[in-house]
């Protein structure tokens, strides 16, 4: 009954308007590569200080949700993830847009984001205190194996050449090590350059590796950027039909997103990669993943928006931010006089539940706002002539990479990686494994070195890596994800071969 009162408080006209504006602002900022959800939240935090606590938190939650979702637009339409959470959206989103299914891809991303956001927020509302314990159960070995699990996606992304995928991933891992080491503080692989001491920023790497090669090839030919769709509109009915067929994938990805979101430091990129790997493993047509499979978009977008609710679980219950934007919001909570901790839900339930209802309302508002903005963005990308589209995207790569740290070195790194990425792609080394290595490298290294040190101190290094139940479960999933496509392919070939033999023998007659 109390919750209904809080729902009423969240449903005021002011709060609805604030949630609407927050979602719209978040979508626009998230869609621009380089401008992240953290930045959107951080920039707009001061405006919320003048509001009452619940309204301020509703705006921040709406901006955060919108920004995570907005990252999918640029991933689908220009092959550049607007936020790192949308890396895996490019795998299937851009191929869909290229063949003329951009509107369908955007609608699917919207539906999946809404469902993912709702699942995350509902789990925050009903399961926050017990789920917060998950964050505490995750130690360095679990983080290491989680990163390894993400890296198993290489097998999916390296169609035709697993070796080149492995080489690309090694290159990405090496790029992630450039600069000062997370543990040990060694200065590594900087080639004597001071500008590389800070390392290679993931977002600069993403923009460079994904966007610059597309632009280099875009200027070379007269062909349009995306194929013009034959059927216009939102294609909402088609999206709903696909989403209902993929409902299990959507809910599973949302749950994975929420759980990974709970883990401090893992974030939306890991969540979406893990759920993508799972969706591919469970799919009846895993060979279509990476070629424009709607299930891939559904998995990544449901997962990354679920991290919003998931990330708030340790933030509110333990005072440990699950994701970087949560850290900013945690600061805003302190300013508003809210004390986070296990007692928050009972002591200051009014504000917390109003905030969670606000998050739910913001997520639902994402559907109409997202569909409208998505349709407009897709139409614009198709309608704008190449002579205006290419320089605009090029400008966005420059601005986006600069805005990460207000530093031109990031822009230079972005361009250099883009050119290297284009050359490597020509030689058959796809950019996605490199990006995976770059994103997961630091998490993997930190987990590995910390586990090794703890294991060494305890005189049980192997036990540290292989003797913990959660670790073993993640290892099992990683092994299944890595070998399942090969094994299932071999089994299906064996099943098909007698039929083929019959057909061949008949045709021979």
């Amino acid at each position: 009954m109390d919750k209904l009162i809080y729902l009423g408080e969240a449903l005021t006209l002011t709060n609805l308007m604030l949630a609407f504006c927050g979602v719209a602002a978040g979508i626009v900022i998230g869609a621009l590569p380089g401008l992240s959800a953290t930045m959107a939240v951080a920039v707009l935090v001061p405006f919320t200080f003048a509001m009452d606590p619940a309204s301020g938190l509703i705006v921040l939650g709406a901006i955060y949700n919108g920004a995570i979702y907005g990252g999918s637009y640029s991933a689908i339409l220009v092959n550049t993830p607007g936020t790192p959470s949308a890396i895996a959206t490019t795998f299937d989103g851009f191929p869909m847009a290229r063949r003329g299914d951009g509107a369908l891809a955007v609608s699917l991303a919207t539906l999946a984001s809404v469902v993912g956001g709702l699942v995350g927020a509902l789990m925050l509302m009903f399961l926050a205190p017990p789920l917060a314990q998950v964050a505490l159960a995750f130690g360095p070995p679990e983080y290491f194996w989680l990163a390894v699990f993400g890296l198993t996606l290489i097998s999916a992304l390296s169609v035709g050449n697993l070796l080149k995928g492995m080489i690309g991933a090694c290159l990405g891992l090496i790029l992630s090590m450039v600069g000062v080491a997370v543990i040990g503080a060694d200065v590594r692989f900087t080639m004597g350059s001071q500008t590389l001491i800070g390392g290679i920023d993931i977002v600069a790497g993403l923009i460079g590796l994904y966007c610059i090669p597309v632009l280099i090839d875009l200027v070379a030919t007269r062909d349009p950027h995306l194929k013009v769709a034959t059927n216009s509109g939102f294609r909402l009915a088609e999206s709903l039909a696909i989403a209902s067929r993929q409902k299990f994938n959507m809910v599973r990805s949302a749950v994975i997103g929420t759980v990974v979101g709970i883990l401090p430091g893992a974030g939306g990129s890991v969540a979406s990669l893990v759920s993508y790997a799972e969706a591919r493993r469970a799919s009846k047509t895993p060979e279509n993943f990476g070629k424009g499979e709607p299930g891939g978009i559904i998995a990544t977008e449901a997962a990354n928006n679920a991290t919003v609710g998931g990330g708030f679980i340790p933030t509110l219950v333990l005072g440990i931010p699950g994701t970087p934007p949560d850290a900013v919001i945690l600061g805003a909570l302190f300013v508003q006089g809210i004390k986070t901790g296990p007692g928050l839900f009972s002591e200051q339930g009014g504000i917390v539940y109003t905030f969670i209802f606000g998050l739910l309302i913001g997520t639902i508002l994402m559907l109409p706002v997202g569909l409208m903005v998505g349709r407009y963005a897709y139409k614009s990308i198709i309608a704008i002539p190449k002579a205006a589209l290419v320089p605009t995207i090029a400008f966005m790569t420059v601005v986006g990479s600069f805005a990460i740290h207000n530093n031109l070195h990031d822009t230079a790194v972005m361009l250099a990686l883009g050119i290297v990425g284009w050359v490597l792609n020509r030689a058959g080394y796809a950019p996605s494994p490199i990006v995976l290595g770059l994103v997961l490298g630091q998490i993997a290294e930190q987990g590995f070195v910390q586990s090794y040190l703890i294991g060494n101190a305890q005189g049980n290094v192997l036990g540290m890596f292989f003797g913990r139940p959660i670790s073993l479960a993640i290892v099992a999933f990683a092994v299944i994800a890595l070998f399942y496509p090969i094994v299932s392919g071999a089994i299906s070939k064996r099943r098909i071969s007698p039929t083929n033999a019959t057909v061949e023998s008949r045709s021979a007659k």
Partner: protein, 161 residues
């Protein structure tokens, strides 16, 4: 019939990766044990994978299966004007190099329109060109104002401005 080498570009890049891996592995010798364990492992993995790829391609060549590799879905578009590609890369490098000299806005205006010229494939009327210029200036000014006035990002100023 002359036998062709299997995947020459991929093999050449793999040989570069072997050299890179050796250089990186040597560099890790000057690091602490904690800082070097991961880079050493990955450098060796890079060398091993690249060497296996080279070996595989050599074997395939000897078996007479020359030519290029089957490409993945992420494979780049083939064909098109390489001169335009080179001009685009040159324009982007100049754009970024000019920002500290003439400031963000001016360098972006120059870079934007240089890239626009490179990306222009069809003949356009004066009216269309004027429209593109107005659109370009509006986009640049809009984003510049968004960055400086709304997001309060300190944009780089050049020596000139």
């Amino acid at each position: 019939m002359q036998s062709r080498f299997h995947d020459p570009a991929g093999t050449f890049v793999a040989s570069l990766f072997v050299i890179l891996g050796i250089a990186l592995a040597l560099e890790t010798r000057g690091m602490t044990a904690m800082g070097s364990v991961f880079p050493t492992t990955i450098s060796i993995a890079l060398i091993v994978f690249s060497a296996v790829l080279i070996l595989r391609n050599l074997v395939l060549t000897l078996r007479g299966r020359g030519g290029s590799e089957a490409q993945s879905d992420e494979a780049p578009a083939t064909g098109g004007s390489n001169a335009r590609r080179a001009f685009f890369v040159g324009a982007m490098i100049a754009w970024i190099a000019l920002i500290p000299v003439i400031g963000f806005l001016l360098a972006s205006i120059a870079g934007y329109f240089a890239v626009m010229v490179v990306a222009m494939h069809e003949r356009m009327s004066l009216k269309q060109i004027a429209l593109l210029i107005v659109l370009g200036v509006a986009i640049l000014a809009g984003f510049y104002l968004l960055m400086t006035e709304v997001l309060l990002i300190p944009m780089p100023r050049g020596h000139l401005f």
